[in-house]
Structure formats: C-alpha cells, structure tokens
C-alpha cells in the first residue's frame, strides 16, 4: 500500500533534512498513527504520500506506483484513490454539505446520476443523514469534520490520509470521529493518521510510527503514544 525506501527530503534553502533515511511499509487494511513533536517530519511524510512533494533521495511507492517516477499528469489518477482529511476541515463555506461532498465527484467528472445517489449514502455513513442542505457554518466542528470525511471517502479510496483530524475538536467529539475512522478502516480502507492526541492513540492500540527530527525512531504494533510533549 505504502512503501518508503531510504527516503530523505531536504527542502530548498534549508540545511537540515525534514526526513532522513526513512524506510517502512504499510500493508493494505492497516490503521497507522503517525506521532512526533512539531517539526519532526510528520507533515512532510504525508505530503510525500500525496505527492505534494517529491523525495530528495530514496523512493516512495503508493498503491504500487513509484511516485518519484510518476509523470505530473498521472498524479490526479493516484490522488483519486486517496482520501484526505485535515485539521481545518477545508470545506467550501458557500456550498451546502451535500454540494461540498458532490464537489469532489463533480471535479473528477462523475455523472450526475451517480453523484445524486452516492452523496446521501456517504452522508448517512458518517452520521449526517438528512443534513445535505445545511451550510458548513451552521454545523459544529465535529459535524464539519464528518463532512470532510464524507468527502474524502465518497470515492471509496484505498487509502485515507488524516492530518490531525481531531486537532480542533474537544475530546468527546474526537472519540466520535475516531469511531468513524475505525469504521472506515474496517471496510478495508488503509488509514494513516498524524496526531498529537495521546489519549486517542493509547485507547485505539494500533500501529504507531514515531518520527523525531526527520528520523524514524519507533515502529510499534499495538503501540501507545509514548512520549511527553
């Protein structure tokens, strides 16, 4: 699903590498937490998977494709098989909940009939059935993140990337979001989630990958958050 082989990433005009010699593999259907303090390279790790950046050395394989050798015009095809969720939700404030989810399908040219059918389905799945016509501004943070997850999942991606999805939410709401991500994981979708939330990691008991100053320092199945910040 994801394979990093000796991956290093140095940004232009920066001496210290953001990632240094990272090698790891994530199998199909896994749920992986990515932990580490700010600046440890978590975001760079995720950006490499999304092919927002290319590795300076080493190779990144996602869904069997070598992203370093993938030509630019093929990148969208790979991204269609990935779902992404962010801390700040990234919803369009002037579109309704339903339109926000439909947007992800419209821009990849899905037929209108299919959109009309899938959008309510996926909103049901995330627990927002019947809220199609609400505006994002009228929803709570947890509900907005559910909309974002619905949008990420509406294409039934093989892999879901979540960058601190509970970072802006209170603990109780976070638990709801984690349950939802767990349910999505059980449908066979691989989930990689960067987080600072120790409680969640300790509760879920999934594989934990820890980065520190760009190096992989821990890779533990059924791990815990494990460090104080």
């Amino acid at each position: 699903m994801i394979r990093f082989d000796n991956v290093s990433k140095t940004y232009p005009r920066q001496s210290a590498p953001a990632l240094q010699n990272v090698s790891l593999e994530v199998e199909r259907g896994e749920f992986v937490f990515l932990v580490g303090s700010s600046g440890s390279g978590k975001s760079t790790f995720l950006r490499l998977i999304l092919r927002e950046e290319r590795a300076s050395t080493g190779s990144v394989h996602v869904l069997g494709k070598d992203l370093g050798r993938l030509s630019n015009w093929k990148v969208p095809q790979v991204r269609r098989q990935l779902g992404t969720v962010f801390q700040d939700f990234r919803l369009l404030p002037n579109k309704t909940v339903g339109e926000n989810v439909a947007f992800a399908l419209e821009v990849i040219g899905k037929p209108r009939g299919q959109i009309r059918k899938t959008v309510p389905e996926v909103l049901d799945l995330v627990g927002l059935g019947g809220k199609d016509d609400r505006m994002p501004g009228e929803l709570s943070g947890g509900e907005q993140q559910r909309v974002a997850i619905a949008r990420a999942f509406v294409n039934r991606p093989m892999l879901l990337i979540a960058d601190e999805p509970t970072g802006n939410l209170d603990p109780q709401t976070s638990v709801g979001i984690m349950k939802l991500l767990d349910r999505i994981n059980r449908t066979g979708t691989t989930v990689v989630m960067a987080t600072h939330d120790a409680q969640i990691v300790d509760q879920m008991r999934k594989r934990v990958i820890e980065l520190e100053r760009g190096r992989l320092v821990r890779d533990q199945t059924r791990g815990v958050y494990g460090y104080q910040h």
Partner: protein, 304 residues
C-alpha cells in the same frame, strides 16, 4: 466533463472580478480595434495604390525651342526633331513593359492646361510654345519606371523623364506612417491587455485557492482545474473582440460611408466585404490571445 459545473464556475469568477473583467474587455477591445483598423488601413492604402498607379504614367518631355534657347543642358542641341520623335516612339513600343504610348503635342498640352486652370491669371500668360511635346507612357508594371528613365533621359531631344508615381509616393508614405503609428499603439494596448489578464488570473487564482486546493486533493486533472480560468479569460477577450468589431463596423458606417465617402469622392474607400473579412480574425485573436496569456499566468500562480 461536466459543462454545467464549469459554466457556473466561470459565471462566479467573472462576477467576482467585475472591475478587472471590465478593464480586460476595454483594453482588448481597443487593441483589437486598432489591429483591425490598421489591417483595413493597410488594405485601403493598397487599393489606393492599385487604383492610382493604374492611372499614372511616365512622361517623357521633349525639348522645345524655348528650352534650347534658355541653355537647358539637356537640350543643348536644339529642339526635338520629327526623326527623333519617331525613333523614340518606335523604341518605346518595342519594350515589353510598355503597355501604351500616347503622344501629346505642345498644343494639346496647352489645351489641357487651360482646361485645368480655368480662368486663373496664370493661364492667361501661358502660350502654346511654352508647352512641351511629350510622350505619355503607360507601363504594365508601374514600378519598372527605372528602365524607361535610364534608357531615355540622356537621349538627344529629351528634356526630362518624369514618373508621376513620385507625387503619390509621398502621400502613401504618410499613410503608411500613420498606419505604423496605429500598429505601435496597438502593440502597447496589447501589452496592457496582457498584463491585465495576467493580473486578473492571479487575483482569480488567489480568491479561488480554496476550491482549487480541494480539486487538486480529490484528483481533478490539471486541465479541469485550469479550464474555468482559461475560459474566463477567453470570454472576457471575446467580449472585447465583439466590442472591437462593433467599433470597426461603426467607423465604416458612420465615418466612411456617411461622411468621408460623400466628401472625398476621389478616393475609392474599402467596402463592407473588406471590413467583414477582418472581423473573424479579430474575434479569433480576441478569444485566443487572452487564453494563451491566462494559460501562462496559471503556470505561475496556480499550483496543480
């Protein structure tokens, strides 16, 4: 491809940047009107050249008694003789480039002159013997004047060889100068239009960065992400081009047909066919040029 989606995006984009869109439309309209105008002016000059050059002749003035007496260096051997005239005429008719040769006697020249001058006081003092016999040579190709000039200007009995085209050349040079000035102005307006388009695209890309960011993440193709921006520029350009077409038609109808043509019947102004044939070109440039500009602006301001 969802046409409805793309169209609604364009509508939103154009409305969001009304002032910028308006500036683009006006500058495109002006530059294209100048482009079309200079194309038409060029055609006008060419048609005038065809028309007038068809009428002009090369005149070979022959020496008369007066020239011989007044020590004209070309006529030092006295007035032209009948033999010389016959010789010149025979030779002229042998040239391929010569279409027709007329002989105009001094008497005929005098009569033409009287006719042209009417009752003016100058006409009264001119006498027939001051006028010259001349050959009026019509060339198949008016630009081949040099051949005739070099063959006959040093000939005995010939006072001078004159090309009437010289008189027109000044006029055409002036018209060409005006045309070049219009083209220069057009290029300047074009640069202004292009810069405006680049800036509009930049603003537009910035105000829509949230949408384009999401599009990128969910795997929209770069073509699909860029298309609304490019079509926006194309539509603004096309509106400008339509305005330019209206301007050209307006100038043709009001300034040429209803004003100049009535006052200057001597000039054969370009017709509607010429104007209409320029319009598709103006429209095509108006739609394509902003699209290309937008495309290159997007490479810089929109990450895909």
């Amino acid at each position: 491809m969802r046409a409805h989606f793309v169209l609604s995006e364009i509508g939103v984009g154009l409305r969001r940047n009304v002032t910028m869109t308006f500036a683009v439309i006006v500058s495109v309209a002006l530059s294209l009107a100048l482009l079309g105008g200079s194309l038409l002016a060029n055609r006008q000059v060419n048609s005038m050249k065809d028309y007038w050059y068809d009428k002009v002749e090369v005149s070979i003035f022959l020496c008369n008694e007066n020239d011989a007496e007044s020590d004209d260096p070309h006529c030092s051997r006295g007035a032209v003789t009948d033999e010389q005239k016959e010789q010149i005429q025979a030779e002229l008719e042998d040239y391929d480039i010569v279409d027709k040769v007329y002989y105009e006697s001094a008497q005929e020249a005098f009569e033409h002159y009287q006719e042209q001058q009417g009752d003016s006081p100058i006409a009264a003092v001119v006498t027939p013997d001051q006028m010259q016999d001349s050959f009026r040579v019509k060339l198949t190709d008016p630009t081949k004047y040099d051949v005739i000039s070099s063959a006959f200007s040093a000939r005995e009995g010939v006072q001078s060889v004159q090309d009437q085209r010289d008189l027109l050349t000044n006029l055409f040079n002036l018209l060409n100068g005006v045309n070049w000035a219009a083209i220069g102005l057009m290029l300047l307006m074009l640069v202004v239009a292009l810069l405006l388009i680049v800036n509009t695209v930049r603003v537009s890309a910035f105000s829509r960065r949230r949408e384009t960011g999401i599009m990128r993440l969910v795997g929209a193709s770069s073509f699909y992400i860029q298309l609304p921006f490019i079509l926006e520029a194309a539509i603004a350009g096309l509106m400008g081009a339509l305005l330019a077409c209206l301007l050209l038609v307006g100038v043709k109808y009001f300034a040429i047909n209803n004003f100049l043509a009535e006052r200057i019947p001597l000039i054969n102004f370009i017709g509607w066919d010429a104007v209409l044939s320029v319009l598709p070109f103006v429209l095509a440039v108006g739609a394509l040029m902003p699209s290309v500009a937008a495309f290159f602006a997007l490479r810089r301001y929109l990450k895909v």
